[in-house]
Amino acid sequence: MLKCDTTTESWVTSTLTTIDMDGLTCGSVASVTSIDISALTLLQVRFDPDNYSTDTSSFSTTIDNIWGMMNDNCIMKMSYDVAADTMKVTEVVDLDARDYRLYSVSPEHFDVTNRHFAIVSPVQCDPDVDHKDLEYVTSPSVDFYQFSDQTWSCRDLPATEKGAQAWTIPRETAPVTAPVY
């Protein structure tokens, strides 16, 4: 934590070195049970323009929701305790169960509000798709996760590729041919 003490007009620092997963698991398949801070990126909900507070004192005390990502297996909601200078995970959204979406979880693919988070997928929307049968990519898409009822929805994005499909997903079902030297 880095804080400007406006009384002494000096910086006050403390170091947060561990984050408690509070018994939660990141990813139903990967089952990650500890936080790798070096791989962790935190994002925060910005002020909501639909519910913008005119009470300036709220800016001093309100900590908008914090979300974190460290792999492709989950998105985590975090809670920071100012007095103790500790952080813990309070909620995990599993992405392993949606592995056909081929997420590459990184801040440039992700945004969050108080109601939803959105994450870009390189493959088109298809609620019935099984990743083993997905052969062609026609467009990227965005998945939306709604916090209130824990449901997903999807919207296709325009593809810049003009052909019938953007590219073919390499399949492992084809026989492997030994390289010729």
Binding site: M1, T6, L42, Q44, D64
Partner: protein, 54 residues
């Protein structure tokens, strides 16, 4: 980073904490992977990509 406080008298932000050097990201590939969390009056949590502490 510079710390400011709003002054109703001067109707502008006043510098309260002088400029402090932050860890600079040297790789263009990961420049966007920093964390910057607003804690209100309690400051910020900041971490560069790959650092193991906030």
């Amino acid at each position: 980073m510079v710390g400011y406080e709003w002054s109703d008298i001067q109707n502008k932000f006043e510098v309260k904490c002088a400029a402090r050097d932050m860890s600079a990201e040297t790789s263009q590939n990961v420049y966007h992977l920093y964390s910057m969390i607003n804690l209100g009056d309690d400051g910020v949590l900041f971490k560069r990509n790959g650092d193991s502490t906030f």
